[in-house]
Structures are given as C-alpha cells and as structure tokens.
Amino acid sequence: MIAVYLETRDGKIKKSSFEALAEAGRRAAELGVGTAAVLVGGAVAELAPGAFAYGASKVYVLENELLADYSTQGYALALATLVAEIRPEALFFPATAMGRDLAPRVAARLGVGLASDCVKIAVKDGDLVFTRPIYAGKAVLAFTLKTRPRLATLRPNIFPLGEAKAAAAGGEVVRKDVGIPDGAIKGRVAEVIREESGEIDVTEADVVVSGGRGLKGPDAFALIRDLVAVFPRAAVGASRSAVDSGWIGHQHQVGQTGKTVSPDLYIAAGISGAIQHLAGISSSKFIVAVNKDPEAPIFKIADYGIVGDLFEVLPKLTDELKKALAD
C-alpha cells in the first residue's frame, strides 16, 4: 500500500494532506496496491471520515496523550513503528512546515532515502519516479529511491485534490497503541502563535499578489492587500528587495531565498523579475505582471502583462475583479 501521513492543525486535516492522499490513490491504483492514511495525535480518530472521502480505504490511528502537542521525536517514533509493522510501498507527507520537519526524521529512523518537495510522481516499470525542482526551480531532478519504503514529501498546491466522495464513503479504522518511552521526547511545541491578521501563507494560497521595489515604500502594500482581499484564498507576497528594505516581513518573501510558490494565479506588481524571484514562481499556473518598464524581465515569462503605473492599474484591477467575481 501507499500510506499518507495526514497533518492536523486545530482539529482539522489540512488541504495539502488531502492532496497528498489523492496523489497516493492515483499512484497506488497504477501499482495495484491500496491506499491508507495515518493520523497521529492525542485524540484524532474522529477525523478518519475525511480520509475516506479522499480515497483512503484504511486509516491508521496512532493516539497517545503525549502526542497531543506536535513533537518531531514523538511523531517520528510513532510513524516509524507503524511503518516497520505495515511495510507500505511508500509513505507520503505534505511538504508543509510540519511535513518537512518530520519526514527526514522518520527517514533517518528507518535508514531510508527521502524525496523532498516533489512536484510530480510517476510509475515506471513498477517503480515510483519522483520529480523535484532544485536550485529553486532552475533545474529539475528526476530519480528513484533504492531503499524501502520510499518516503516523499509532496509540495502543496501542485497535486490535484479530485472530488471528495460522499459522506457515506467508509473504510476500516485501525487503532494502534503507541508506546512512548520516558525521555524519548526532548523537544516539543509549547505554543502555536497565529499571525493576528489571520492571513494564509503564500505557499498555501490559490492566488498570490506580490509587491516589489516599484511600490516605493511600505504604504503601497495597501494596494496589494486590497487586491488580495478580492479572492477567497489569496496571500500577500513580496520580492526580496521589498523585504530587505523592511517594507514587509520576510515570511512574505517569494523567491530563491524566500518561498517557492505554486498558486493558480501569481500577480507581480512592481517586480522587475530577478532570476531568484522568477525561479520561485515558475511553478505558478498563470503569471500576471504589472510594471512600468516594458523591458522588465518579468514580462518574458508572464502569461499576461500590463505595462503601466501600478498605482493607477492596481485599483482598477481590484474594481474589475470585484465585478467579475460577483457575477
């Protein structure tokens, strides 16, 4: 089978985990094996129906009160113990902050290789071929894993979710006791501090609107935020120069020393398009650029471009999108 670790936050399974589960289902069908989901936590069994809706036929529930708060060591121990018992063909994780923290730890515990941040998984000659960008997307690496099980993290917003099955979709829930020896957890999350704005992250958004040097200062990010507010799942991004100028926090930075994003729509306003920035947005489905300079490199890769003053164009674009989305 292909097993998928489902990340839970605030008592919910995250969308990126369902994406990984849906992809596992497609590849498992090609390999002729089943799909299972794994839930880890203090009390998570009630979340199992969500996993059935996205294609798991079995859900493993690993509960222990010591796992109520996330700890890399505790979760890795639980997952590695399960994997040693059920011996899946592969174990997938979402390539989120938690998945990226946890998967390498599980891999090292099992003594196996890990395919990080995959954007494509294919079946060839009965094996899984993983594809991932390297050099922030300036090159693309394809490879197989020689060790078993194959561990991989899947980049959010890349793999199609598919349709959720009806609520009646059911499956088998298998509870496993997880023993956590005394002293096994030497680091744990004590607190999760949410950003007050409640904004979603650029890596998870369907639409990212980014501002760069052309904004001329922090105040013009208001124009970016107005545009972001038009879309249901959108986030504010920024170029490195906007971040390094102190106009906005580094968590918004998109590009090689920031985040790599894959939204349905990426809008770059006042960003000329340095190679590091272009690398970080190359897996976006559609790219729109607004820039005064018709020679800006961003126009060479944008699907649609407006040559114009962003201070004039952005408010008009916000108005037009509001009208279009209200239809």
Binding site: A97, A108, V112, I185
Partner: protein
C-alpha cells in the same frame, strides 16, 4: 557553550544553471561559489550566542577541497576553528548520506557539543533533510526553520516558522537548530578577521578515517534525469489606459485562462 555550525559551498543565487548533456550534476565552470545563505545565518547566530554566553564555535563542511574557501570565510566572520570533511563524491542529492557522515563526525570528533546549527536547507539541492536526519541519528531534539532562538544552560526556546504563524518549541540541549531568514543579519568579515583566518590551519578528515568503507555510503537515490525546465513563454502584453487594460486583463483571466 560548545557550538557546531555546518556550512555548504554552493553557487550563489544569481547563478544561471547549465547542465551538460546527459549529466547528473550541473556545470560548475563560470559559477561563483559562496557559503549557502541560510548557513550564514547559522554561523551568525553562533557568534551572537558566544558573545552573550561565551564558548567555542567550530564550523564544519562536507565536500571537496574547494569547500575550504567557505570555511575560511566563517573563520573570518569569527568562528574559532574549522574542519573539512573531505568527500570527493559528486552531488548525490541524498540527504541521508550526508547526514550519516555528519553524525559520525560529531560522535567521533565533537563529543560534548551543546548546539548544532545548520541552515534550513542548502541553496541548490534544496532538500532540507540533513539537519533533521542528523538529529535523529544522534538522538537529539530539533527545531527547524527557526527565526528566533533563546539559549539557556541546558535548554533552548526556538520559534519556528509555520504556515500563518509561529511555533514555540522547547528543547533540551544538546539540540539541532536550523536557521531561517529573519533569525539575524549576518555580519561582514573585518579585515582583521580575514587576516587572522588566513593564518589558521584547517584540518581535513577523510571518510575512511571516520570508519566508512567504500560501500557504506551508497546513495539511496538513483538519478534518472536532470534538466533545465522548459522556459515559460512570454504572453500577451497590454498597454494603454489603466481602466481599459485592467478590464481586458480580467476578461482574459476569465475567458482564456479560466483561472477566475
């Protein structure tokens, strides 16, 4: 406080990547190599901890002889000692292999280390695997993608970036911590630092001296292809009245791209 900082020599982020026909590694000629940017935050954090608490900073790089240049830069920034772990293998993109080498070095050469600092990922392989794997192999707790770190005797509090917020992680020491942009602003080397670094000897340890045989480090990854992605094509460019171009763009997004 005994601190280890791990650094990798990588092409700078301005680099245009070229891949020779059929090669599993990039062409290195003409590239400018630097300390991987996130590793610089790790070294800077080590310096700040030493300034506040005292201690010794040792920097370690796994790589070819050329990696000495990045170690020397770290010495110039203010690190006390450096060690090159000589690994002649071409890039394997396999984090577990590197993690095994580092875990062995720590066990054999750096017993008594309180804190192991890494960049959150190398700029290049972009795996972000090695630090957590080292932590597991050594049985240490970890905090990855950290933007703020407070170190006390025997414990640390790390603030790590997650989607839409921050996790506060409590760690007992020794521990592994990986640096994210925002943790600090790395200092420039001083002329005095550069001169002092030039005089320092950088010892080299080979893999066989760490007890590895030729087959012990076979990569878990088998590369089947390495390519430069197909370039995106330039699309439609709109010029003219802001209201009209905005209206036309929205029409294209809806009717042609079907993205809204």
């Amino acid at each position: 406080m005994n601190i280890l900082a791990f650094v990798k020599r990588v092409p700078d982020t301005e680099s245009r990547i070229r891949i020779p026909q059929g090669s599993a590694t990039i062409a290195e000629d003409g590239l400018n190599f630097v300390v991987s940017p996130y590793d610089e935050y790790a070294v800077e954090e080590a310096l700040r901890i030493r300034e506040a608490k005292g201690g010794v900073i040792r920097v370690v790089s796994v790589g070819k002889d050329e990696a000495v240049t990045v170690l020397r830069k770290c010495l110039a920034m203010g690190a006390d000692e450096a060690l090159l772990v000589k690994d002649e293998a071409p890039e394997t993109y396999d984090g577990l292999r590197t993690a095994r080498i580092i875990a062995r070095v720590v066990e054999r050469r750096f017993a008594g280390t309180d804190l192991l600092l890494f960049g959150k990922q190398s700029v290049g392989a972009d795996n972000g695997q090695v630090p957590a794997m080292v932590a597991e192999l050594l049985g240490l707790p970890q905090a990855t993608v950290v933007t703020k770190l407070e170190v006390e005797a025997g414990s640390a509090t790390a603030f790590r970036e997650i989607e839409g917020g921050t996790e506060k992680v409590l760690l007992s020491l020794p521990a592994v911590v990986t640096a994210q942009k925002g943790l600090n602003e790395p200092r420039y080397e001083t002329l005095k630092g550069i001169m002092a670094a030039k005089k320092k000897e950088i010892p080299v340890v080979k893999l066989d001296e760490l007890g590895f045989g030729t087959d012990d480090l076979a990569p878990a990854i088998a590369v089947t292809g390495l390519d430069v992605p197909a370039a995106r094509q330039a699309g439609k460019i709109l010029q003219g009245d802001p209201a009209e171009t905005a209206r036309e763009l929205v029409r294209l997004l809806r009717d042609e791209a079907k993205v809204i």
